[in-house]
Amino acid sequence: MSILEVSNLCVSFREKDKATVVLQGIDLSVEEGSIMGIAGVSGAGKTTLLRTLNLLQKPDSGRVIFDGTDITSVSSETLRILRRRIGVIFQNYNLFRSKTVLSNIAFPLLVSGANKKEALERARAMADELGLTQRLDAYPSQLSGGEQQRVSIARALITDPKLILLDEPTSALDPLLTSRILRLIMRVNSVHRVTVIIVTHDMDVVKRVCDRIAFLEMGRMVFSGATHDYFARSYLAGAEDDHSTRQLENAESLSASSPGASLIKLVFWGESTREPVLWKCSKKLNVMVNIIYGEIEEFKNGPFGTLLVGVSGEDSTEFLTRLAREVYSMEVLS
């Protein structure tokens, strides 16, 4: 079941009589309990899309259906109540400077009319879960960036939201803190059964935590689907940000030294990634397989491997037919 359904969303910014189109015809569907990544380069409209999902940014047209309700057409009163079920973790955390860590975390509960004592108790428990027990009475300005982020996560989780939105959660963190926060996001996702949408420009974040990815380019969505599918396609297409460009340079010089060999790009995903697929497919065949470059990465939804091989020999065609059945996807380059 999808918790969030976006259809034909268009957003533009108006300044005097000049309008800049920021998002155009965005369709998006987010499964309940999944982690979705919104990726793209800076200025692609990622943050605007995220802000539109809880209507901090009003769209020009299109619908945003959250948990069965079209939030673009409800009264501001209803929107206010709905927003309490969507937690937001802003890029620069936006904590209340005048409130202590404890009051920051408890604030969303107090706002929705909870009993003060109970709210503080739950805030304490939440702070404990996020390792903030020592800092309850500190003010945001006294916290490190990582601590501020955890307060912001605690504040977003305290109301038991169905959905949390994270804007560039790792952009200000060092690699160690990044790993920690990504683990935390995965834990929150499974423990609190909350759907997560992460805006990021770091494809590594997408690989490590996202089930699905929506990729934006100049305000349009150019890909939406499973994470491994995205990376399989960009590997085969030889995307700029991939290793494949470098691999190909190596490969071309290599194929020059062994004429007659065809170059094959292979993508493995899931179970077969760790199996001896090349051996299995080449059994009893007269082929020579030359491994040029390969790597295996641990994606959130399973191991993902890419491999560049040179193939020659009289049974090459049969070998490729067998191979095509075993791998996730492949492409014959030459």
């Binding site: 901090l56 936006n94 005048s98 706002v111 003010y139 006294q142």
Partner: protein
Amino acid sequence: MISELVRATLESLYMIFLSGFLSIVIGMPLGILLYSFSDSRRFITLYRVMDLSVNVFRSIPFIILILLLIPVTKQVTGTIIGPNAAVFNLTVAASPFFARLTENALNTLPRGIVDSAQAIGVTYRQFVLSVLIPETLPDHILNVSLLLINLVTYTAIAGAVGAGGLGQLAINYGYYRFQWDVVLYSVIILVLISQIIQLVGTRVAKVLRK
């Protein structure tokens, strides 16, 4: 002479703090409205009207404003001289001033904090009371010092047209009777009052700025 000085000082303090209090009570909500309306499409006309009135009131020199207000002052306080009449004039002059100061302070609230509050789903009332004012409180404290110090000056001006207080003392005894020591003492006391107000304001703001 000392008893005269003490009486005048007390009168001045009475005028400064009472009109200061009233200006805050009137000006602060006006400032909050200005802040809220400036951002809303529905109330933008209302904002422009309020914005203009604040500017008009602020651009009239205080001494002229007192003269213009004479009929109203008489209606409201029953007299046009003495501390109470002055408090009325001072409040009329200082409320728009404080409204503008408040609006400016509220405008320093980062957009991100407003987003944060909105995403949490606060009502307008909760936003004003739990986010807007607490988050900008140090600025409001500094504004209050600024207001009160301005009122010290205004009160002295009002003294020239019969309000009483240190301003009137300085003019009547000092300027008209050439008792320059009275002018000197009055000025010293006025400076002291201003210094104390500023010092307290800065201290409190510093403590509140987290």
